[in-house]
Amino acid sequence: MAMAYDWRKEEYEVTRPGRTRIDYRQEIGRAHVPIGIEREFAVLDPERAGALRAWVCTLIPARDERPAAGDVGAAEYIDATVFLTPRLRGVLLDAIDTVEHMAQKLTGGQFAEATPPERTAVLRAFAANDPLDAFPMVRDLTYEAYYAHPLVLDVLERETGWRYEVAISGGDLEPFDERLLDRMRTVPPRWRNA
């Protein structure tokens, strides 16, 4: 068995090469962007960069010790990803511009300056009519940038006990105790003789 990965029940899609719509998952497959390093924006201008930072902070806001996604470089990570995947640049730029336009209509101001409830309302409206899958793309990349960041992983260990470093450095468990099988060793054969 291999482990199921990224299985989101409500929206899971089986990838299909050759589909006319851009599938962001296929586009980013060969793009590796290191996490946890400081970088500047390579695709987005400052105004759009501010909007995207507000967007990712709305997806994962700060809480107590846990930073907001925008504080661990999620917006820059998304920018760096679409820098490596030119077909996605237009998707991201269009999405930011649309969100900005919707914010103007709803609040009369910029998305980055809206209140958290207003930002949420704008993003919900955007996600409801998103033919290019820009919303799930930004969300997935935000989650990647957040949950692979050392700062976040450290906080998760302190707050939930989930020890991330074991996956890298190894762990220790008691060997299997055969005495647990005492009852099972009394069970008669169950397999069907064929």
Binding site: P17, Y143, A148, W191
Partner: protein, 534 residues
């Protein structure tokens, strides 16, 4: 076009079956050449060598060839009511490089499905024919576990002791004991002690994402190390070799294969015997590409069944959430403890055949967040509720062969050398749907008995595509099968098809152990008939 002198045996594919065959034949000093579409996996590509392994697992290590897009990959499109989420790797070691090492033997009833239950087909061989090869394979791969499971026939001791239970295994045992269900430590291809030059597993977990030290028995570190060890008798393994077609002599026997090397140059290999072991999709792809006036529908396809009767198992995950932390980060992925309580057909059920359940640690943070954590204000609360509070029960059940479930060539989506991709078509039948529903019901019952305060599951669709079997199946009748009991193609006397495609039915467990046992038996048959074969 360059070609070599005729070799004894050409093996196409260096995965679970091809690696086992190459080892078996080369130790008898057979002159073996192996063409592998992919390459060796370098350590830097294995996600678990990096802190951001969860992200790499979604990209460069994605089990979908459409996403990772290695140079060796071909496109795979999925159709049907239950389209397959394909999990394959094209590399030395094949898809074992991304497996978890569950290493079950089939049971005797798995080979007699038609006779016992009136569905599917019988194999032309039985458990007793494969038993000696299971034993050899467990020794060579290095399998951990304990003999004595009442759901298996008596067998020799395994070479390595079982993996540690971990907190998840303990929970599963508690649940089983409360319900009076039977359980047993899972047989896993993992070194629980140092073994044949491989170090002991140090429990990094999340095994499919590239075991860094070779404790997981992927075929690149087991059979291939041995098969290549001897300079004199070692196998001639050629990587980055994309087979375009199997060629024929005028008398209809297989002559060899045409392939593109890494630079795109067309090459030819000739051999007395050709073995196809390119995997559940790769093998029918090559057969269907190998058309000629003699075989207009593809090689070895007089039955019309090449590519058909594809099977994937009915699979799901049932996830229990516990109020107390469960140390969900550690333990082997593959599952330290399993239950085959519902493995055999029970007339009281509304379905035929059965399934296995194996307990695993919980999901890692990114994977979990993508499953359960909504964006926005409730994001962190959802992570608090699930991270380190869940265990994952893997459920796998039998899915019977049906002609409508199939592999076809996809000429609209080509690989880097203009060769076609594949299309898969898959829909579960009513029996599989009922079996899937029972898996979820029983898995939920088990989690609740273990103390879970909440249970969720993945359903059974889309179909998890780890176990791709049956698309060139074994049988006695050339009209209803592609190869005979010895894996020899009915239509081509010196062509053998010796991988997962030859499995007539798929049992209800992970198939790697059986795939390799079949391959080792096939290799021995080739050796015994070497004078007849050339």
């Amino acid at each position: 076009m360059a070609h070599d002198d005729e070799r004894d045996v050409l093996i196409i594919g260096a995965g679970a079956a091809g690696g086992a065959m190459a080892w078996s034949l080369s130790r008898r000093k057979v002159d073996v050449v192996c063409l592998e579409q992919g390459d060796w996996v370098p350590p830097t590509l294995r996600p678990k060598n990096h802190l951001d392994w969860e992200v790499r697992a979604r990209r460069s290590w994605s089990p979908s060839p459409n996403i990772r897009q290695w140079p060796s990959d071909y496109p795979v499109a999925s159709y049907g009511d239950d389209p397959i989420s394909v999990f394959i790797y094209n590399a030395v070691g094949g898809s074992t490089i991304g497996y978890a090492g569950n290493f079950w033997r089939f049971t005797p009833s798995d080979f007699r499905v038609r006779s016992l239950d009136g569905v599917g087909v019988d194999w032309p061989i039985g458990y007793e024919d494969l038993a000696p090869y299971y034993t050899i394979n467990e020794r060579e791969m290095g399998v951990a576990g304990l003999a004595g499971d009442p759901w298996s026939p008596p067998r020799e001791p395994l070479p390595l002791p079982p993996a540690p239970l971990g907190p998840q295994g303990q929970l599963m045992i508690e649940g089983c004991e409360k319900l009076g269900w039977e359980w047993w430590p899972t047989e896993q291809a993992i070194t629980t002690r140092p073994y044949e030059g491989r170090p002991a597993c140090d429990l990094k977990g999340y095994c499919p994402f590239g075991c860094p030290q070779g404790a997981l028995a992927t075929v690149d570190v087991t059979y291939w190390r041995k098969a290549l060890r001897s300079a004199r008798n070692g196998v001639d393994l050629r990587t980055n070799a994309r087979v375009r077609e199997i060629t024929l002599h005028p008398d209809g026997r297989a002559k060899g294969a045409l392939y593109y090397d890494a630079e795109g140059r067309l090459r030819e290999v000739r051999a007395k015997v050709v073995v196809l072991a390119a995997g559940g999709l790769g093998t029918p792809r090559i057969l269907l590409q190998s058309t000629s006036s003699r075989h207009p529908q593809g090689l070895a396809n007089s039955s019309g069944l090449v590519g058909k009767n594809l099977m994937v198992h009915v699979q799901t995950f049932v996830i229990g959430r516990f109020e107390e932390p469960v140390q969900a980060w550690q333990g082997t992925w593959g599952g330290a403890v399993s239950s085959r309580q519902f493995y055999e057909t029970d007339p009281a059920n509304d379905y035929l055949r059965g399934f296995v359940m194996s307990i695993n640690p919980g999901w890692s943070p990114l994977n979990l967040a993508l499953q359960v954590a909504p964006w926005g204000a409730n994001h962190h609360a959802a992570m608090d509720a699930h991270l380190n509070h869940e265990v994952v029960l893997f459920c796998c059940g039998e899915d019977l062969p049906e002609e409508r479930n199939r592999v076809e060539l996809d000429w609209d989506n080509l690989d880097a050398f203009g060769l076609p991709g594949v299309k898969t078509f898959y829909s579960f039948d009513e029996n599989s749907k009922r079996l899937g529903a029972a898996m979820i019901t029983k898995g939920t019952q088990l989690m609740e008995a273990a103390g879970a305060s909440g249970v969720r599951d993945f359903g059974i669709s889309p179909a998890l595509g780890w176990h791709l079997m049956g698309a060139a199946r074994m049988g006695s009748d050339p009209a209803s099968s592609v190869v005979d009991a010895d894996n020899r193609a009915h239509d081509v006397s010196n062509l053998f098809i010796a991988d997962s495609t030859s499995l007539a039915t798929g049992g209800g467990v992970n198939p790697t152990s059986t795939i390799q046992a079949v391959a080792l038996r096939c290799a021995e048959g080739i050796w015994e008939r070497r004078r007849e074969l050339g």
